[in-house]
């Protein structure tokens, strides 16, 4: 291990956790195996709210379990503040976890649950009592300390799990879909609270979710995972606005994926010809040159519909769905594919458009993104 340590280059300053080509293979039965993580490399900064986002079964929990020490990597290294943690058992890592199903100790009271970590660290009684009080106040349950943890609602259990993990002032907090068991209202409230808490405590949060809205609203940075591989790492707006590949574009909200052929460059834009002949302007990417086949991502909210025949691409509305804050249309372009379009309902019957109407779709230069992957 020491030899391996001296070979690994030092981690960048301010890096809380670094994963280097981490691969995890589970043996299932005698012959079968599942690759839960495939060559995952990541650097999570200190004080960062970092989100792992991906569909069910993509390896999110496995990644957390490797960091917490419940599983061992098959290949690769995990560095915690610059030190290789291979072989370090979970109870020796300065990391705490809020488990997917909370895992509160049912035979203990709420206060005993919150005190558990500090008791194991042999802190003195007065300090433990004070911290437990502070923590329970922090999660807005100051009077429930004497309850058995089995007598709590889902939301309360979630708060206790959070208080129990935070009481130890870990340097890194792992949160495995902690909000998934809550109803919508409470979930939205907890999102804000978690975000505030993270900012105030300065603890590095690694937050797992499969909810893209949750990821977008809370995170400093997001890593999108699929089938054990990292698809893209970046800030919420970078991931939403500039998805690296069709999977990310599709997973992060709705999008129109359009195949196109690149044309000539015009100032800082490149012409993209859709199937059918209609053209849109996108920002050129890398080495892609004229004649290349590419996939474009065009967000439905970036398209504006108008009845004015003087501009935009001609089309006809084939479907119209009122959704409260906006209306969802499907528009078949005369010289192109069918598009999904969202129009904000800013005024009463803002557009007054219905199925069968001829419209023009305005697509601003650069609204469509060329996907590289």
């Amino acid at each position: 291990m020491n030899a391996a340590l001296s070979q690994t280059p030092p981690a960048a300053v301010g890096t809380a956790i670094e994963l280097r080509s981490v691969t995890k293979v589970f043996q299932t039965g005698t012959a079968g195996s599942v690759t839960a993580l495939d060559e995952v490399s990541l650097a999570i900064r200190d004080n960062e709210f970092f989100t792992l986002l991906g569909p069910s079964g993509c390896g999110k929990t496995t990644l957390l379990r490797l960091i917490a020490g419940f599983e061992q990597v098959t290949r690769g290294d995990i560095l915690l503040f610059g030190d290789d943690v291979a072989g370090l058992p979970p109870h020796k890592r300065p990391i705490n976890t809020v488990f997917q199903h909370y895992a509160l100790f049912p035979h203990m009271t709420v206060a005993e649950n919150v005190a558990f970590g500090l008791r194991m660290l042999r802190r003195n009684k007065a300090e433990i009592r004070r911290t437990v009080e502070t923590m329970l106040t922090l999660v807005k349950m100051p009077d429930l300390g004497e309850r058995k943890s089995s007598q709590l609602s889902g939301g309360q259990q979630q708060r206790v799990a959070l208080a129990r993990a935070l009481a130890n002032h870990p340097r890194v907090l792992l949160l495995d879909e902690p909000l998934s068991a809550l109803d919508l209202k409470l979930r939205q409230e907890m999102r804000l609270e978690l975000k505030t808490l993270q900012r105030e405590t300065g603890i590095t949060f690694i937050f797992v979710t499969h909810d893209q809205e949750e990821a977008l609203t809370m995170s400093d940075r997001i890593a999108v995972l699929q089938a054990g591989r990292i698809q893209q790492v970046g800030t919420p707006d970078a991931i939403y606005e500039h998805p690296a590949n069709p999977f990310v574009a599709n997973f992060m909200g709705e999008t129109n994926l359009l195949s196109a052929v690149l044309g000539t460059v015009e100032r800082d834009m490149i012409r993209c010809q859709l199937e059918g002949g209609a053209e849109v302007l996108a920002r050129p990417v890398g080495t892609k040159a004229a004649g290349c086949r590419v996939t474009l991502s065009l967000r439905p909210e970036r398209i504006v519909l108008t009845a004015d025949p003087g501009s935009g691409l001609a089309g006809r509305i084939t479907d119209c769905l009122y959704r409260g804050t906006d209306t969802s249309y499907r528009v078949k372009l005369e010289r192109g594919p069918e598009l999904q379009v969202y129009e904000q309902n800013v005024a009463d019957h803002s557009h007054g458009m219905s199925v069968g109407d001829s419209v023009r779709a305005l697509i601003a230069p650069g609204a469509a993104r060329i996907l590289v992957g």
Partner: protein, 267 residues
């Protein structure tokens, strides 16, 4: 016809009450008769005269009975404690390790005393203990009882451990508890209902054992069941009934205590 499949109720079938009464009668009538005649004033276990506690007084004053009772409780206590500790260790070893080849074999080995005819275990223990020349008197009985009580203690403990989420133990490890602390503060308290059930079962089984004790016990190491048997051969007296009733009473109390304790643990 009279009860559709959706409102199936066994109690409404003709003859249900009768069969149930016969079964319960077969189970409890002999016990009732035994206890009943232990209060008989006369020296008869079939002709009732009047109520008296004389036979209980006599039994309690009988040195041989007191010796046998002491032996029984000593043996049962020691066997229960050692069997429960071993069973807990075995249950941990068979549920808290990654699956390995031969795990099923382990279950079979641990539980085999349940399958092997008791007389075979008895003879085997007798010849083995004499082969190695172990002559500890009551100690021999304790060793023998530990052996056959082990699977009875093991089964409820394993069942409890098997149904227990390892997430709790991982949560403890996540909160800086080393393996010993995790066991002490999380696994053991959670496991307690299973341990209590296993211990109660082991205690009652040990208290009640006859065949193995009969084989292994030397003179002076006699337990209550063996004593009762030796007395019955000379004819059943209300004194035997009284001793048997007390043994029955102790068993019932222990099992009830275990049930009560478990109720308290789970709420």
């Amino acid at each position: 016809m009279m009860a559709g499949p959706r409102t199936f109720d066994l109690k409404r079938y003709p003859g249900f009450g009768f069969i149930a009464a016969v079964c319960l009668g077969l189970l409890y009538l002999p016990l009732f008769v035994l206890v009943f005649f232990s209060f008989n004033e006369r020296r008869s276990v079939s002709n009732w005269s009047e109520f008296s506690l004389d036979w209980y007084a006599k039994a309690l004053a009988n040195d041989a009975i007191r010796q046998a009772a002491t032996n029984s409780f000593l043996v049962a206590t020691v066997a229960t404690i050692s069997a429960t500790i071993l069973a807990t260790a075995a249950a941990l070893a068979t549920t808290r390790v990654p699956r390995f080849r031969g795990l099923t074999g382990c279950y079979a080995v641990i539980n085999s005393p349940l399958m092997v005819p008791e007389i075979v275990t008895a003879v085997a223990l007798l010849s083995f203990l004499s082969l190695i020349g172990l002559e500890l008197g009551v100690g021999n009985v304790m060793i023998a009882h530990t052996v056959f009580c082990l699977p009875f203690a093991y089964l409820p403990i394993r069942a409890r451990l098997h149904g227990m989420d390892t997430a709790l133990e991982q949560a403890a490890a996540d909160l800086y508890a080393d393996p010993v602390q995790t066991f002490r503060h999380v696994t053991l308290p959670m496991l307690m209902p299973g341990i209590v059930a296993g211990a109660a079962l082991a205690f009652v089984i040990s208290l009640d054992d006859f065949i193995i004790t009969q084989m292994v016990a030397s003179a002076g190491a006699t337990t209550l069941p063996v004593y009762i048997y030796s007395q019955v051969r000379m004819g059943v007296t209300p004194e035997v009934n009284a001793v048997s009733s007390m043994l029955l009473g102790v068993s019932i109390v222990i099992v009830s205590l275990a049930v009560l304790l478990r109720k308290k643990e789970t709420t």
